[in-house]
Amino acid sequence: MSHDDPNVEPSFEPNVEPSFEPDLERDLETEAILGKALAAPREVPPEWRVAAQAAFTWRTVDEELLALVHDSAADGVAAVRGDAEARTLAFSGGGLTLEVELADRRIQGQLDGDAASPGMDATGEVTFEHVDGRTRSATTDETGFFTLAGEDHGLVRFAVRTAGTRLVTEWIVL
């Protein structure tokens, strides 16, 4: 085939034989699956795309992750008790645990070394980060306790700076 001719027009069809025979039935099938494929992205709300793209701005390098190990909202207990205002969360990672309780328009929490790292320095600064960019910070006392004022909804996480390292929790939805 003479593909290397630089003067070939864009509409030149190297793939279609001169003895081209349309296949009406297959054409309809191909059109149908192509139509579905092109419709799928159109069904996604535009703001989902914006949010998905924006998530990348939260990319961090070499930050230790504190994984969610307990969420009272997930076990349904709070709802059954009718105590829907209080929510307790626990995170663990990098030798640390972080426990927080969200109630009465404030967040109370404690940093601690995990079972494997009992002597760990668990004091420092805890920052509450909202995905929209707002942050609030508190410094722990010498036993790792801290309190953050205010209430929030949406996607949030905690960042912990202790002994020169920064850890972040998984994102959670409040």
Binding site: P10, S11, V16, R26, L34, W48, A52, R59, W171, V173
Partner: protein
């Protein structure tokens, strides 16, 4: 080959030069309006790990329809569903560096989307149930879930196949399969093409689409190889 090249190069270059590299490579593609299918998923993940925003945006474009279809299977308010979507992508950002098999990303995203959607359904406070999530699992059983991944693969293959066509053919097919379908006289004026040419050009464009690399790869993977792209009823 091109995909592998991107993957390998991204591993060895400095983080800051990745974007430039990825931006430059497409110009080495086959001539004119005939782009090969975009970088592989593994290549995009590798580039995104190095901070390449464009690679991330391509991952989003590829897999957003999948995440959307998984989340849509769970009954959630629009706001909760949007939160789930955001959570899924933030999870991916967190785990970009630790994904063992980047090519398994579709499965990872679908699983994460389903888990987060069910979690949202049980924690939103709207659902109070002794067995949280029990009735919500309707419509997200394993069979459906596998079907979603198969559909997503087919849809992506079709979009990749379309991207392999010359721009004028691509545009014609887009107009023909639009919803609602574009009338021939409108297509004629949009593309500057005589109405009488639309039918024959459509047939040739569809035949060409079936001969693209992306279409053949998908077809061989689903129907087994045969000579002409196969005549098994295309699902």
């Amino acid at each position: 080959m091109y995909h592998r090249l991107v993957t390998v190069l991204c591993l060895v270059v400095e983080p800051n030069s990745t974007r430039a590299l990825v931006a430059v490579l497409p110009t080495r593609r086959p001539p004119m309006d005939q782009p090969v299918a975009g970088p592989s998923v593994a290549g995009l993940v590798a580039a995104a790990r190095e901070g390449d925003t464009e690679a991330w945006d391509q991952l989003v474009d590829r897999f957003l329809p999948l995440v959307h279809s998984v989340v849509s299977r769970v009954r959630l308010s629009a706001a909760d569903a949007a939160d789930v979507n955001q959570t899924v992508w933030l999870r991916l950002v967190e785990h970009l560096g630790s994904l063992r098999q980047p090519e398994a990303l579709p499965g990872w995203l679908a699983t994460t989307a389903r888990r987060e959607a069910l979690r949202a359904a049980t924690t939103s406070g709207r659902v109070v149930s002794v067995e949280p999530g029990a009735h919500l699992l309707e419509g997200v059983d394993d069979v459906d879930f596998d079907d979603l991944l198969v559909d997503q693969e087919r849809d992506q293959a079709m979009r990749d196949a379309l991207a392999e066509l010359p721009a004028d053919r691509r545009r014609l097919l887009e107009l023909l399969v639009s919803e609602p379908p574009t009338p021939y006289d409108e297509i004629s004026s949009i593309l500057g093409m005589p109405i009488g040419s639309i039918g024959p050009t459509r047939a040739r464009a569809l035949a060409q689409l079936r001969k693209t690399r992306a279409f053949r790869a998908w077809h061989e993977a689903t129907a087994g190889p045969d000579q002409d792209g196969g005549d098994r009823r295309v699902p």
